[in-house]
Amino acid sequence: MTIAMVMTSCHDIPEYQDDPEGNFEALWTMIDQHYCFLDEKGVDWDDVHKRYAEKINPVMTREELFNVCAEMLNELRDGHTNLSSPWQTSYYRQWWSDYPQNYDARVIEQYYFNFNYRQVTGVKYGILPRGNIGYMGYSSFANPIGEGNLDAILSYLATCDGLIIDIRDNGGGNMDMVDRIAGRFITERITAGYMVHKTGPGRNDFSKPFEYYIYPAEQGRMFWTKPVVVLTNRSTFSAANNFVSVMQYLPQVSIVGATTGGGSGMPFSSELPCGWAVRFSSCSVLDAKGNITEFGIQPSPGCEVDLDLAEALNGRDTMLDFAIDVLTR
């Protein structure tokens, strides 16, 4: 038992007190040792400690402590980084709130489809009234799409000359859905990107990029080889951003709209001594050319467009119209 106690002490786990200072230090150290974008974002984390530690005092309330910690996390400018207490989850909103919204689902549902669109597992689809173009709006990668659903959608749109995949306001979800949908637009294995994770607590402890692939859907499934537009806005985030990073390099695909929101860091979960949950990016997903997409992916050259709000009031989605033009010109 003595040996066991000695070995246990050798495998030490740092402990922090459940007081303002202990929780603050635990949070700062967690980000210091695990967060994967400190360098890319030019964040001087030591300076952050200096500035925010001054705001910590032993008699501050939990709410005051939460606000300081949340403010400190906002220095990371990361939509995947949150602090969750029983009364609030902190959230860095500027990654989308500083940009135009560029999307109004009602305009499309009412003025382009007169509410006569098909809907299955989070996908709204139909044939647009102009240009014989198929439309597939996918609001969240958290809504799983089955292979049968994709067969049905692509079969229904098979007579169209082009396809618009509208992932504006798609905040991400399941990365498997990226593989599943992209697998309908390729005929052979492609490099989807690279994954890099932290290998230790040092700020430069990163793994070698691991190349991963996407494979075509199995034989007998419906494929789409005609032109495609992926329609994006700033709220295209996380898994949706990853979908764009994959689709952008396919020859028949154009990215139309606004720069995506990024969110290429796979979030890791942890917690503080007081029980507050913490989520942060710890594993970076690079695109097929090894580029970081945390800051968003720009539209294809000449395909950047915003929603004209005045036209939207008249029932026109200028971004969708632009996408139709790209496919019909």
């Binding site: 246990t8 050798c10 994967c36 994954m195 607590p201 890791f268 917690e271 007081c274 949950a277 594993c283």
Partner: protein, 281 residues
Amino acid sequence: MSHYPIMSFLKLFCAGLLISVSSLMASAQLDEGRLVQSTWMIGVGSSHLADTYLSPLKYSGWSLGLAYDRTQVSRWSERWVTHLKAGVDLDRTLNPVGNAVMWAAQLQVSWGMIRKWEMPAYGINFGVGPAIRLEGGCLYNARNSNNPASAKATATIDLQAFVSKSVRLRGRFVNIRYQPTLPVIGAFFSPKYDELYYELYLGNHSGLVHPAWWGNRFKLDNLVTADIWLGSTALRLGYECSVMTSKVSNLTTRMITHRFVVGITLNWLALRPSENSISPL
């Protein structure tokens, strides 16, 4: 004699393994007359878990274990017994403030041999021998998103031992025994520091298996029992303590359980048990 103690140990273990396997392959009729002792145990107690892949906090809660233990006198010598152990453990723990749950579930099976000695003057038996053990399971933290679980898989060569003494208590034989088990060398699974299982799923399988030695993975199981014999059946009461600590890829795991155990022990073929035939051990 090799200069390398580990190699010598492995050679000894393999030789014993070969002898035992060949004996098991002999005809069943040779089993006649060999004493077999089987025990079914249930243990309830406390658990203390920590796994820095899931959380930097230490969790505490309850632990439940079911175990089967079988010893059998070997066919080549009464001094050697084969020892089979299998068990399943389930732990449920809370973080210090009680707002997050971490579960642990593990299966384990081990098989080995024990060379026993007797000290008749003191009524003490003791023994020591090697065993091979396989363990698998996971720790699960329900509120984590991309890192909800930490899988555990281990294969080790263990050193197991016992010391026992039979006494009479109110006219009944009571066999008191202490059994420590110490994994010596092996291999175990661990992802890297912040490597997500999603990356493993995508095919990155490099560097997941690590050699296990006392420096990076230490485990010690202790079992103290009293078998109160009622004919060829005994009521087992005891205490079990297991300590496991590992550190690899800058990830630390710690699992400590304390359990009180209750069990039933049966002697097979022991039609008229005497003090000397109470147990293969």
